[in-house]
Symmetry: C2
Subunit: 256 residues, 2 copies
C-alpha cells in the first residue's frame, strides 16, 4: 500500500520542540515533508508574503522524510510545500504542536491554525495541534497517542471541503487525560492594555499585554475542555458568513 | 446630541487614496479618529505585533478629527486606537476603503477585514469597505452614498456581539450601481503557483502568483454580487465552529 504523504508545519519555527515532537509522532504514519518558518511566527494570523520573495532552505531530503525551512509565514509554508516541494497535494497537513493554547478566539490570531485553514481552503484534510503550555521546554509526552489517534481517523475518513480541526491538549499535569471532547469555539475575549514606556531618546513605545477572559460557562466549549483535563476537538469552517443574520439585514433600509 | 466616535483604519497604509476617501465620507457622521499603518499591510491577515514594540506618530489632533499612524498591523491599529488614543471603545469602526475586493475567502487574508473582525471580538460595531479595483488611482466617487447609508444604519441599529460586516463595492464602470445585496461568502479558491527565479548569486527565490477561481454559480453570494454591479454586504461572525460537524465527529472512534 502506498504510504500517505503528510505535510507538517508550525508557527513557532523549525527549531521548536513542539514541531520536533510532532514530526516524531507522524513519521510512522506516512512519508513526511516538513516545511516550517525559519523564525517564530506566532500571532501572525493568516498573513501571506506577497511583497517580498520567498526562499527555501533544504535541511534534509529523502523519499520517506524531507525537511525544509523558509522565510515565510505558516500559510506560506503550506503554499510552498504544495506548489514547490511536493508539486501536488499531500494527504494530510498537520500543524504544531503549538506552544500555547489556540482555543476560543485565539484561532483568529494563530499562525498554527492559519496553516490548517489554508489546507481547508485547498480541500486538504488538516489538523492543528496546540498544547496548553506556553513554555519552550513544555512536556509533550502525553500528546503522542492523542495525535496518532486523530491523524489516523482523518487519514481514514478525510474531511469535508472547507473544514479542518482545531485540537487543543491540556498541559501535562501528572493526571491522565480524561478523554477527548468534540466542542465549539468558546466565547471569550482578551482584556488588553499597552505597557507604555519611554525609550532613552524620550520617545514613547508600547507593548501589548492582556488577560484572557471567558464568560462562557457551558461545558461544550474548547476552553472548558482543556481546563477540565479533556482534549478539545473543534471542527472549523472557512465560511465566516453569519447566515442567521442575512434575513435580518435584508430588512434594513439600505438606500443610496 | 453627542456625536458618535468613529475609529477608521485600513491595510493599504495611511497615505492610501481609499483611506482618504473614507475619512472624508465619515467626517459628517461623527468625531473621527484615524489610526492607520505607516506602510502597506495587505495580506497581513489577523497578525498582531507581540515581539516588537509599537510606536504611534501623531499627524493631527482636535476634538472632531485626529489622525495617527503606527508601525503595526490593522489589528494593532484597532487595539492602539481603543487602548491608547481613545482610552475607550468607539461607537463604530470602519476599515478601508480597500484597494481590491475582499469578497469570498479573501476575507481570511485581509488586513482590512482583520481590523473589522477585531472590532467584532470586542463587541464594537464594525464595517469593512472594499472596492473591486486594485489600482492606486481607483475611482471611489460612487462609494460615498453607499458607505454613508450603511454606516448610518449600523450607528442606529448596532450589531450583535461577535458580528461585523464585509462590504464589497463594484469598480466604477460608468453604469449606476444596481443595488445592495445581503449575501454569503462565495465558495472559491486561489489557483496558485510560484514564479521561480534565480538571483545574481545563483540562489532560488519564489514569488507567489495566482488566479481567483469560483465555481459558485448561485446568485446569493458576494462574488456574484460585485460582478453583477451590486454592492455586497456579508454579515461575518467570529465563531469559526462548523457546528453541523460536531455530531458527526462525535461518532469517530477516538481512543488513545
Amino acid at each position: 500500500m502506498k504510504k500517505p504523504v503528510i505535510l507538517i508545519t508550525n508557527d513557532d519555527g523549525v527549531h521548536a520542540p513542539g514541531l520536533r515532537y510532532l514530526i516524531e509522532t507522524m513519521r510512522p504514519l506516512g512519508n513526511v515533508v516538513v516545511i516550517a518558518p525559519d523564525k517564530p511566527q506566532s500571532a501572525m494570523g493568516h498573513a501571506v508574503t506577497i511583497q517580498s520573495p520567498l526562499r527555501i532552505h533544504t535541511i534534509t531530503k529523502s523519499a520517506s522524510y524531507s525537511e525544509y525551512s523558509c522565510n515565510g509565514t505558516p500559510a506560506d509554508c503550506v503554499k510552498l510545500g504544495e506548489k514547490v516541494i511536493l508539486r501536488g497535494k499531500p494527504n494530510l497537513i498537520v500543524s504544531g504542536i503549538n506552544h500555547g493554547s489556540n482555543a476560543s478566539i485565539n484561532i483568529l490570531y494563530s499562525g498554527t491554525m492559519a496553516a490548517v485553514i489554508e489546507g481547508a481552503m485547498e480541500n486538504v484534510p488538516a489538523i492543528g495541534f496546540s498544547l496548553n503550555d506556553y513554555t519552550h521546554n513544555a512536556d509533550f509526552s502525553h500528546c503522542g497517542k492523542i495525535i496518532t489517534s486523530l491523524a489516523t481517523q482523518v487519514l481514514d475518513k478525510g474531511m469535508p471541503d472547507g473544514i479542518c480541526l482545531n485540537v487543543n491538549i491540556p498541559a501535562m499535569n501528572g493526571i491522565p487525560i480524561s478523554g477527548i471532547r468534540v466542542t465549539r469555539q468558546a466565547k471569550a475575549f482578551w482584556k488588553e492594555n499597552f505597557d507604555e514606556r519611554i525609550d532613552p531618546h524620550q520617545r514613547d513605545y508600547y507593548w501589548l499585554q492582556g488577560e484572557f477572559i471567558t464568560t462562557d460557562t457551558d461545558d461544550d466549549n474548547d476552553y472548558w475542555a482543556i481546563n477540565n483535563n479533556y482534549v478539545s476537538v473543534v471542527p472549523v469552517q472557512i465560511d465566516l458568513t453569519a447566515h442567521h443574520m442575512i434575513s435580518e439585514i435584508k430588512n434594513w433600509k439600505l438606500e443610496f
